[in-house]
Symmetry: C2
Subunit: 367 residues, 2 copies
């Protein structure tokens, strides 16, 4: 499974693995893919710095990437305390009441920090810290990062990737200097648009032309799906959900209820909603997501307020460990996540099934 | 492009083309695919009978299929006049007011019949009439037809296909005796579920096992997409939208505004809504679909009432020919429908691009 991206990044397989876990990222890179560490969970840049030190030492010299969450237009931004003052009382009351109804206890005092990585200033510090290490790629989950960040990355010899949910957004990213487009289909976990991978990938491939590599994202969890994505014209795949089902991920995740939750879920058990960040993102369907559909639920707030509103709730939910009350971004591929496996085994299966699929297609085509 | 379905149906390519137009169906069958005539537009079984006579004579002896719309459970059903009495005044007023606001004039007296094919009794007459001709396939857009209809088809040596939007529905169809599953992805036109083709096709393929052929549907409009669907495990593709852009289709369609409407649309310009039939179906986004999102719009009625409510409105909209006010089921592939072409050219391009795609994948896999 070799495309020009393998040469460009010095990787064996064009399998890009977004993950909040440095253990997963390192294992994917060691297995021949490109592990991409999600930085949004690092409130403290020093924590990220230490984690990237660990990654530098645990990837056997193989390349890796980082993923930040950064809107192109720099928002008006105060401290997290200023922003919290903008959250309506109705929303705070709803969250607290819902958590109580779902049996989710409060946290001890020292566990109450939310996730600040959605704030622009924090995301920018992630870039500064990352560039002191040796990432080969900086990806931005919210599309083009600000142009000076792209220039900063390029000056360090680092490629920039950006997610796009429509061809016009991909064209705008390329015009801003982005090197690689992640075509994020409707079926993907996290922030998604409405166009599904089957249509979106070729839309974006044809829009940006052959000089701009496209990674297919959304619904990729098997070698058949990698073959499908490459058939659609991608030069590789961007995966995320499947790594949440690996042994290495469980080292990070303190959420005791997560494994039974994803094991039970079918591909119909996700929901695309604004309750996680304020922008539409796909989550596992749970009592928490359902509560936001009730008649008494308020409308989600815009980014970044919604995440500030629910950040502590997420920590409480994670600590409680009830499989029926999780708040986890995941794609429709969750229906296929039925056991916890080591990363190396997942990668080996992806590659083997891809090769078997291409041979099968040869038979259909009479080649 | 040969799979076991080619043998089973005596066709050259496993490309199944759903279309309300006998001209398209005949042209697809002549070109080596399987044209499948949608029967829902035939209020009068004699009209369908005459149209199938025409198809028998214009397919050069090649096979064809028919598509009916039939719920498995036989609904309580009166005449169309009885049912109309169940439509709330609020809904009738909203439709009339909206059409007036959009500048859609009334029809002359003789053009006021709606579409009755959604009624079970009418759909059943379609099956009876079809079996007097030589279809090789009866497909049902609403899943399993009633078991006695499946037995009636099998007794006549005709295979039965049913659409499914989730693996559990596919399993239920197979248990009812359905021969072929159409895995209808989220991106498809008309009735769709929420799981996209990239995930749904392998879900269904694995659920029903190797003995039951699966057709991939939703987002299929190019040879790359056919290759992707076959990579996912389908034995062929079920296509619909792309035939709405053919020369042959324009012979049926009296809607003067349709060609500019689909030519302009991108893959983001569809909407999945209950306003067409009462069940979620994907339509081209237009001033008509947007009107149903306004605050003063009522909720759509359940099937079959919603279609009775809007049937005459559809006729008025079609007659008016305003490209900005269309009511047309179409998939996200509409973004690629940019010119009107003959069916034979579309089929030839699908096949050629499929073969080129498989060769490209061979290169990636190093085969």
């Amino acid at each position: 499974m070799r495309t020009p991206l393998c040469e460009a990044f010095g990787i064996e397989y064009p399998i890009f693995a977004f993950t909040p876990s440095e253990h997963v990222a390192a294992a994917v890179s060691r297995a021949g893919g490109l592990g991409v560490l999600g930085c949004v969970r690092f409130n403290d840049a020093d924590d990220l710095d230490r984690t990237l030190d660990w990654l530098d030492e645990n990837t056997d010299g193989k390349p890796y990437g980082v993923d930040v969450v950064m809107p192109m237009k720099i928002p008006t931004e105060g401290t997290s305390i200023d922003l919290k003052a903008m959250i309506p009382e109705e929303h705070l009351t709803f969250v607290e009441r819902t958590l109580q109804q779902l049996g989710i206890p409060p946290l001890p005092e020292d566990g109450r920090d939310g996730v600040l990585g959605w704030l622009h200033s924090v995301a920018r510090s992630h870039v500064d810290v990352a560039l002191k290490h040796r990432p080969v790629l900086i990806a931005n989950a919210l599309g083009s990062p600000p142009v000076d960040v792209i220039e900063q990355a390029h000056a360090a010899g680092v490629k920039v990737a950006a997610l796009a949910g429509a061809a016009k957004h991909a064209l705008s990213h390329v015009a801003n200097g982005v090197d690689i487009i992640v075509a994020q289909g409707y079926e993907a976990g996290g922030h998604t648009g409405e166009v599904a991978s089957m249509v979106l990938t070729p839309d974006i491939v044809d829009a940006v032309g052959p000089e701009v590599p496209v990674l297919g994202a959304g619904g990729i969890g098997s070698g058949r799906q990698i073959a499908a994505s490459l058939a659609l014209g991608s030069q590789g795949v961007w995966t995320g959900s499947i790594w949440l089902g690996t042994e290495e991920y469980q080292q990070l995740n303190s959420h005791a209820g997560w494994v039974p939750a994803f094991t039970k879920a079918t591909s119909s058990d996700t929901v695309r909603t604004r309750i996680y960040t304020g922008k539409p993102a796909r989550l596992l369907k749970s009592k928490w997501t359902e509560a936001w559909n009730e008649e008494d639920a308020p409308s989600p707030l815009p980014m970044p307020l919604q995440n500030l509103l629910v950040a502590e709730a997420h920590n409480r939910i994670n600590a409680a460990g009830d499989p029926e009350v999780v708040s986890m971004p995941v794609g429709q591929i969750v229906g296929r996540m039925n056991e916890v496996r080591p990363v190396s085994e997942v990668v080996a299966d992806l590659v083997a099934e891809f090769e078997a699929t291409v041979k099968r297609l040869d038979g259909v085509a009479g080649l």
